[in-house]
Symmetry: C2
Subunit: 219 residues, 2 copies
DNA sequence: CAGCATCCGCTTTGATACTG
DNA sequence: CAGTATCAAAGCGGATGCTG
């Protein structure tokens, strides 16, 4: 809330989104889409409820999000990013890219939500989809499953489940990420505890070529 | 300093660079190169000296900067980004891109340092250099001048001065930025207070084609 | 129950003064 | 020049209570 009061674009951006929790709220809305208050609360373990309310007010005042009052009968209000707020995606992307190596040295007590995989998975799979029939892969690694859907040349990742996935992956988040980054091939991942069911061809459709299978990974 | 403790790359990045002032210190080192303590202090108007010292300690501990103790006799220590710290450039870039529109509504009391122009000018001029002989343009708008140097296809911007610039620009930061972003042509800018000396062809070598000269700009 | 507001103890920040 | 020391003010985290 305290401005740097500097004629510098980056400093101005930090005036708006530089407060604690603010960019993580944006991350939630980017990965989950429009959220209720409680959805945000669940996706931000550790935040104090009054802080969440205050940040949401600030973000709305600054044109980053809108609050959508739901229709009268049984209802709840939705928070969603404005187009201007959507434009923060590259900021989160850049931070995620830079922070990715730091995930190696995480305490295993760290909180995790499955939808946090959406951005890194989409980034790692972007443009990697090979031609072929559309495939759906379900990933089970946290509270809820996520779906990797490859259609044509692009790959989408979203929270959800489906009865007819072509393949199912189950394992710790680091294993999933290493596999989908091409740091680990499927057999190595399975040796480290990954469970795989379904069509290996479906996985091959989206997984990048493995670059080095000698890397030992913790957990 | 307080970790979010979340298994999320963006959150991990914010654990390291999310504290107040931290990313602005990185901005200083990106735009000024290796800095002495006082250089940083001057480039960060408003920071408390104890905070600067503490942030520098943290950044060093996290491998973002190194402190280079100077040789014994008359000396001073230098802070510089590590390669890992250099990789934060995209983060600052993304923030600057997002924050640029907010510069329109700045109070005129805002602090300014000329080297803050380096990143936005380089971004706006990137790939815009037309073929032709090398040119140097001096920009005088703050405490110290900056030089725009076009050599071949790329353009570099750095703090400095030269006796033989092909052209000299003098005016407020918003005017300079609008001009170099192609939002204003030279004549319009001059009508709003910009002073120009030298070779108009030299400016044309790096300035993008003007897109709309009807925009009124404050200051 | 969703969506906060209030209160309280603790930590971080900001401003200034002082030191090797 | 390059910080450390000190202290007041603001921000944060956690718990609890209120309201539709």
């Amino acid at each position: 809330v305290k401005t740097y009061d500097q004629f510098c674009a980056a400093a101005r951006a930090l005036d708006v989104v530089g407060d604690r929790w603010t960019l993580l709220i944006v991350r939630e809305l980017l990965t989950q889409g429009p959220c209720r208050y409680t959805d945000l609360r669940d996706g931000l373990p550790g935040i104090a409820t009054n802080l969440l309310a205050e940040r949401l007010r600030d973000l709305q005042r600054n044109g980053v999000i809108t609050r959508e009052e739901a229709p009268p009968p049984i209802a709840t209000s939705l928070f969603r990013l404005t187009p201007r707020g959507e434009e923060l995606r590259p900021v989160i992307e850049a931070l995620g890219l830079w922070g990715a190596p730091l995930l190696q040295e995480m305490p295993k007590t760290a909180a995790f939500r499955t939808h946090w995989l959406v951005l890194p998975l989409e980034r790692r799979l972007r443009g990697r989809a090979r031609s072929g029939p559309p495939v759906t892969i379900e990933v089970q690694t946290g509270d809820r499953p996520v779906l990797i859907e490859a259609r044509g040349k692009d790959v989408h990742v979203r929270p959800g489940t489906t009865p007819n996935a072509d393949a199912t992956l189950r394992g710790t988040p680091p294993l999933i990420l290493a596999l989908m980054a091409g740091e680990l091939d499927l057999d190595s991942a399975c040796a480290q505890g990954l469970e795989f069911e379904g069509d290996r061809e479906a996985l091959a459709r989206v997984q990048p070529a493995t670059q080095s299978q000698t890397s030992g990974l913790r957990r």
